[in-house]
């Protein structure tokens, strides 16, 4: 008992130091999140000054809204494509650049550059590159008698284009984490493996992959959450079009809340996205968890 009160006495300066951070987080993260939950149970609309508690009505509306399900389906496609490409390519690049060789730091910098650019700049740049009639890409393809292609214009192509732009912009995130994980693996393990007669593929399969599995889990969860909440790229590149072919749930939620001023409904969509993200994170966690490393 004495020890406890003693620890508290010793620890209060630390508590005091982290208190501002907790207060700030509470104000800008926890309070809005709780407020969103409250809103999702109300028929709150910016069109009117009165609102009331409507129970689960907004959630029932989400579940019976065909446009929501359409947007959710497209988001799942976008998420799977982004996840596979970002994890597989991020890992491949990390493995390649983990081998000491000339030009390694230049390549690492090149991968990191798009990540540090603001999304607004990225989209403005890609809009110029991908423009159907005056874009750089179609201009280059024309020199070899190909195109023009409506990268952001054809409904069947627009989603793929957004996935590729997103990959270009965000590949660095998965690469960085996986590269850092690779650097943590003791080289002795590889030496032992080689002595035991393990091939290069075997070294990756039996040493590298098991040891970076926790990082792969983190990357998978982070990429999924980020892909599920994708908004700025689609908003700026296509606005959800052509038709609704790139309308993802993040954009749909924004439209309901801020274009059509239906705040309660937008909040309910946000809650559904949140619950899906939690469910996905749990699935990934249990599917990829390491029973025992050694």
């Amino acid at each position: 008992m004495e020890r406890k009160s003693g620890s508290l006495k010793q620890g209060w300066p630390y508590i005091l130091m982290i208190l501002p951070t907790f207060l700030l987080l509470g104000l800008v993260t926890f309070y809005p999140a709780l407020y969103n939950i409250w809103l999702s149970f109300r028929n709150e609309s910016l069109r009117t000054t009165v609102s009331s508690f409507v129970g689960l009505a907004n959630y029932r509306r989400v579940l019976s809204d065909p446009f929501f399900w359409g947007a959710l389906g497209r988001t799942v496609i976008y998420m799977i494509a982004s996840l596979v490409l970002r994890v597989v390519l991020g890992l491949a690049l990390a493995l390649v650049l983990n081998i000491p060789q000339r030009g390694r730091s230049v390549a690492r910098t090149a991968i990191l550059l798009p990540w540090v650019l603001s999304e607004i700049i990225v989209t403005a740049m890609w809009l110029w590159i991908l423009d159907h009639r005056t874009g750089l890409l179609n201009g280059l393809l024309a020199t070899v008698k190909l195109g023009p292609y409506g990268w952001l214009v054809y409904p069947g192509m627009a989603m793929g284009t957004i996935v590729m732009v997103s990959l270009w912009k965000n590949l660095a995130f998965s690469f960085l984490l996986l590269f850092a994980a690779l650097q943590q693996i003791p080289l002795d393990l590889y030496d032992s493996g080689k002595i035991d007669g393990c091939s290069s593929g075997g070294l990756i399969r039996y040493i590298t992959l098991p040891l970076i599995r926790p990082t792969v889990t983190i990357v998978t969860i982070m990429v999924s959450i980020s892909a599920f909440g994708q908004f700025s790229l689609v908003y700026s590149l296509t606005g959800g079009g052509p038709l609704r072919s790139t309308e993802l749930v993040g954009l749909y939620m924004y439209q309901q809340a801020f274009n059509f001023l239906d705040i309660g409904y937008g909040a309910a969509i946000a809650m559904v996205i949140f619950l899906i993200n939690i469910a996905l994170s749990l699935v990934y966690y249990y599917a990829l968890r390491s029973e025992s490393l050694y």
Binding site: D131, G241, N259
Partner: protein
């Protein structure tokens, strides 16, 4: 008795002094006005000059500006009103005014506006900004959808544009567009298209419908019926969508990808010489003319048949007073009436290419150019998008219908049936329709 008289006199003098000091203090006290203005205005010279002149004339009024980003700022305005942080004066999009007036978020201008000032504004703008018989705002300027064309390409193709202030019918319009559509280098691909039309759903379909509705309105279309239900699924709606379909597929005078083009794409294409005609906004004309000096003309929107008044869509921004403090309201009116004075309106229109909403300004010789004569005539048949709560849903679904037809995915009847069903479903879900 004498001392009583003396005491009364002293008391009166003291009272008068106190009242005089209070009056002086009140006169010297500054009224502070928070003005939410447009980001688009805040950097412009005419705007800076007008504000500077106002502050010099009214040292007792202090202005604090908070520029907003335009159409997307609507939720910000409403949130501010509902949390008691509304500005005293705001520049509102025209579609917001009815909604704001219905909710009592903006103040009637009737007690403030002088009769001669009121009479100088065009009636259509006063009517639009009125609700329940009261005036709630005044247009800063207006703009119209228009058909811009290249005079040099018309001359090359041997086409005479319609006479000034006359409109082609749809058939003449399509025929001219066909002659203007050319494969210049003979590689089998079209280099110059007859007409640039946009079909993108970006911005909730706002820009696309801005240039498409003039056809719909010329055909006699109505967007909302008297009971507030969607009315666009009509003969006019069908014919206006069929026209867009025909321009792309039957006449081949617009690119097949037009369904995804925004205003900016059309403007860029026109600047790059890819269109002989384009459906744009009147403020695009000066910029296009810089690219092709003296070669850019404006014509009235085509009509279904001769004898019908050419229609267009007019847009604009509106000054409204939000404060309910009487002292602030008077200061706010001083400011608004100055910013909308003929002098300021003239300099604004000259700078940004907008159209004046006051008769005395429109009559000025600077608005006598061919372009402005066309825009002025176009204003006579102008419609403004309704401010009803259901309108954003109609605009969004109508834009989807335009895209579906321009992509050849649905015929106009099916596209409009689907759009109407979606509007009703969405409006019922949000209690806009009961």
């Amino acid at each position: 008795m004498r001392s009583m008289y003396k005491s009364s006199l002293i008391a009166c003098i003291v009272l008068i002094s106190v009242l005089a000091s209070y009056s002086f203090a009140m006169a010297a006290k500054k009224v502070e006005l928070v003005v939410w203005d447009l980001q688009g205005y805040s950097d412009q010279q005419w705007y800076k000059n007008a504000n500077k002149a106002f502050m010099e004339k009214h040292p007792n009024i202090k202005l604090e500006f908070e520029p907003h980003e335009g159409v997307p700022a609507r939720p910000k305005f409403i949130s501010a009103v509902r949390t008691g942080n509304a500005p005293d004066v705001g520049i509102l999009n025209l579609y917001w005014v009815k909604d704001f007036a219905m909710n009592g978020w903006i103040q009637p201008l009737d007690p403030l506006i002088e009769p001669e000032t009121r009479a100088d504004f065009f009636d259509g703008f006063l009517d639009y900004a009125s609700y329940d018989g009261k005036l709630y705002g005044l247009f800063t300027e207006t703009g119209v959808a228009t058909v811009l064309y290249r005079k040099d390409l018309f001359a090359e193709a041997g086409i005479n544009p319609p006479k000034l202030l006359e409109a082609w019918d749809f058939e003449e319009f399509a025929e001219a567009a066909k002659k203007l559509t050319k494969d210049v280098d003979g590689d089998g691909k079209i280099d110059i298209w007859g007409i640039g039309i946009s079909g993108s759903r970006t911005g909730g379909g706002g820009p696309t419908t801005f240039t498409q509705f003039p056809f719909f309105w010329a055909l006699g279309g109505e967007l909302i019926d008297e009971d507030g239900w969607p009315a666009f699924n009509s003969e006019a709606g069908l014919a206006s969508l069929q026209l867009y379909h025909d321009l792309v597929y039957k006449h081949g005078v617009s690119p097949r990808e037009s369904y995804s083009y925004t205003w900016d794409d059309i403007a860029r294409g026109f600047s790059a010489g890819q269109y002989a005609m384009a459906l744009l906004h009147n403020t695009h004309a000066p910029n296009m003319d810089k690219q092709f000096p003296g070669q850019v003309g404006a014509m009235l929107y085509p009509v279904p048949e001769h004898g019908i008044t050419s229609a267009t869509t007019a847009g604009g921004w509106i000054y409204s007073i939000l404060t309910d403090d009487p002292a602030k309201q008077q200061a706010a009116w001083e400011y608004v009436s100055w910013m909308l004075s003929p002098e300021v309106m003239k300099s604004m229109c000259a700078d940004i290419g907008g159209l004046p909403t006051r008769r005395s300004v429109f009559d000025d010789t600077m608005f006598a150019s061919d372009w402005n004569q066309v825009f002025g005539r176009q204003l006579e048949g102008a419609h403004m998008k309704p401010g009803d709560p259901i309108f954003p849903l109609i605009q969004d679904e109508f834009a989807v219908a335009i895209q579906e037809v321009m992509m050849n995915q649905k015929d106009p009847a099916t596209a409009l049936d689907d759009a109407e069903r979606n509007v009703v479903q969405r409006a019922k879900a949000t209690d806009i329709l009961k």
